[in-house]
Symmetry: C2
Subunit: 420 residues, 2 copies
């Protein structure tokens, strides 16, 4: 798990800010759920492998003592709580529990960390953020179109111009599998999911290894390669009205709870996806009496950040990562209150101002300003204090000018805007 130092946080908050702003412009509302869920809420929702990856929280006090006395055989008896594994299951729980408090169609976004007890690897972390958007309550494909449209707008706003939104449909996948004469659909889809990595021959080999007849495998792969149209998918393309959306019959996202459209966004220089999602009309019913249709999309924040860093896509003010517009110096213990006052006055002018915390040699104060990348230093030295002036040092050019105290904010802002 990672600490995010200031430069990291600024980049993350910039991207999260764009995501929030676009989702809000589509009428999606914010939801936050606790990091900790009851263990029963999570267990069994992510398959056997998922169960192993859930961080479990030890019972406390008497309950823990009781569990120990019982001579526990199963780990889950020692734990009653667990860390959130994704944002979809908590959403389903919230919707099932708050049906009367939520609107008939509930559109929410949620940007929070999740935890998985995976072996850490390059680009894989045990704590990472998910950025999810879901629309609850309608089976209309307008929902798919709006979710795709919003994801496109986010990536465009962040500066991506080479991504593709691939879409497929569970029904199309089922039809292709069964009309090829393959009985075991999940075996076929697990193999198909590797098409990007191992190619058509590789998938055929894997299908045969899994006991599927070679001619059935050929028929299946031929229909995957030959299909360009499907009513539901044609409708999504029509509604989106964007040339970025492509029907791809080979797309087979892993999660078993998808029931309709599935979608994924890719860029050429990244093996994985920048995000993915789909329709899941059966999940919410697992938490309540009512079956409620839903469709969602999850943007991969960590991957978006990696690609934006590699491509240098952050705007200059984020990439430069300065903690303040100006540093104010302190001449002596006696004059420190005047430096605090200057800092307050400059903040009232709308500037971000950091104050050197103690009386110190002027050279050390300027060196510190340089080390934290602050573009201007306002020097309140002996003569400035006597004359009611401030000396402004431009840290980039080295130029200095002495001006009337009351004009300091205005001059720094002028110099600052020239600089950018």
């Amino acid at each position: 798990m990672r600490d995010f130092l200031p430069t990291d946080v600024r980049k993350r908050e910039y991207v999260i800010g764009v995501i929030k702003s676009v989702y809000q412009s589509y009428g999606f509302e914010p939801l936050e759920t606790p990091a900790v869920e009851n263990i029963e809420t999570l267990m069994g929702k992510y398959g056997e492998e998922g169960n192993q990856l859930i961080f479990q929280i030890l019972k406390r006090g008497e309950k823990l003592q009781e569990s120990k006395k019982l001579g526990v055989s199963e780990d889950s008896r020692l734990a009653d709580l667990a860390l959130r594994y994704d944002l979809t299951v908590p959403l389903a729980r919230v919707v099932a529990n708050n049906r009367e408090r939520l609107p008939k169609f509930f559109k929410r976004y949620q940007i929070q960390p999740v935890w998985r007890a995976d072996r850490p690897a390059k680009g894989r972390f045990r704590e990472f953020y998910q950025c999810d958007v879901d629309a609850i309550g309608s089976t209309s494909m307008v929902v798919e179109a709006e979710i795709i449209d919003a994801a496109i707008k986010i990536l465009e706003r962040l500066g991506f111009d080479d991504f593709v939104v691939r879409i497929n449909h569970r029904k199309l996948l089922s039809e292709m599998v069964s009309s090829a004469g393959i009985a075991n659909e999940s075996d076929a889809l697990v193999a198909l999911d590797k098409l990007d990595k191992i190619g058509s021959d590789g998938v055929k080999g894997e299908l045969v290894t899994r006991g599927i007849a070679p001619d059935a495998a050929d028929r299946f792969l031929a229909s995957v390669a030959g299909t360009t149209s499907f009513p539901e998918l044609d409708r999504v393309v029509e509604l989106c009205g964007s040339s970025r959306v492509k029907i791809d019959p080979s797309l087979a996202r892993g999660l078993s709870y998808y029931t309709g459209t599935i979608m994924e966004i890719n860029v050429p220089d990244l093996a994985g996806s920048l995000g993915g999602g789909g329709r899941y009309d059966g999940l919410i019913g697992m938490f309540g009496k009512e079956q409620i249709p839903a469709c969602g999309f999850s943007l991969g924040l960590e991957r978006i950040l990696v690609v934006m860093d590699e491509r240098g896509m952050f705007p200059p003010e984020i990439a430069e990562s300065t903690p303040a517009d100006v540093l104010v110096t302190i001449w002596s213990e006696e004059t420190a209150p005047k430096s605090l006052k200057l800092a307050q006055d400059l903040r009232a002018d709308g500037l971000r101002v950091t104050l050197y915390p103690e009386a110190d040699k002027l050279g050390k104060q300027i060196k510190y300003a340089d080390s934290i990348n602050v573009p201007f230093v306002c020097i309140l030295g002996e003569s400035e204090l006597e004359n009611g002036t401030v000396n402004i040092k431009n840290m980039k050019t080295g130029e200095q000018q002495t001006i009337a105290y009351g004009k300091t904010g205005q001059v720094v802002k002028q110099l600052g805007s020239v600089r950018h």
Copy 2:
């Protein structure tokens, strides 16, 4: 632990936004640490009671099996990780581990949840947010003054006008205790800490119960009541230059790691505080070789929210909590793409637009808009589609007007600004 539905999140994000913006204007930088720390990092840092309140995370896989075989007697053997208990200890760890990557004076803010396995009670939660600001690396009291100044600005910006910042100093407390002839300082301070609740006689009773002689208790309480000045505190008051800052020799914050100034902010209608903090020059040294001075302040987000809610202090746009400025209707499956397009066009005009997700009776669509508190509905019906117009319904007044398609965004914005 709580789910935050959209109205809650909007209020929380509004307050957090003000806090961030003010701290940034003082040159504080953002830091984020993982929710999960190694258990050794947390254990023993919060006293025996604190240890009991730490959520522990069960070991996984083979390590868990090994611990079980050992016939564990201590709980901590079953756990290797734990949930963050506060933001100060993680900060100390980060500073000790990243000394060369961080500036000489590191000013950071951190706004993240923490977890405590407390019995839930009114206003007390097992997951809650802390908003911490800390300045690392200087012993100067300019640091205290800036931290207090920033907290004052935040509360004023949020609309608080009746709060007081009480300050005290560990050295003054020690001097009062020892000159009263009391040997056990921590007993004396634990009793003094209850002055607000049980009054002077109550504290005297508690001091005597703890074995302190009645005349020593009297001397101690007299000096607490009679002291109005202390050099370090006078300096903080001078530097702050705010009449809100009051010296209060009875302030005795519980945490044992404070070494200098301590501070707390109170409002009349809340028993607890809106925030508190102090100087702790010894804590960071526990995590590294170097002793590094530090001073911090923690704003109580949950309490600030409670008081703001009770007093109705949220600005109208937050309190009203609308998911969108306008809802666009869908006339039929065939014309749905035109509704999607209108929604896109209005978003391009800067409006937040939600689309009814399916073709439905117009009355139901308008009723839904009303249920989610959207102030305007843009109706694309049969005649509007034929004539290239849009019908705008003002949900507050009931008024409707039909206008040219291209003017829709402009008209909604005009109507909207009249409404606010």
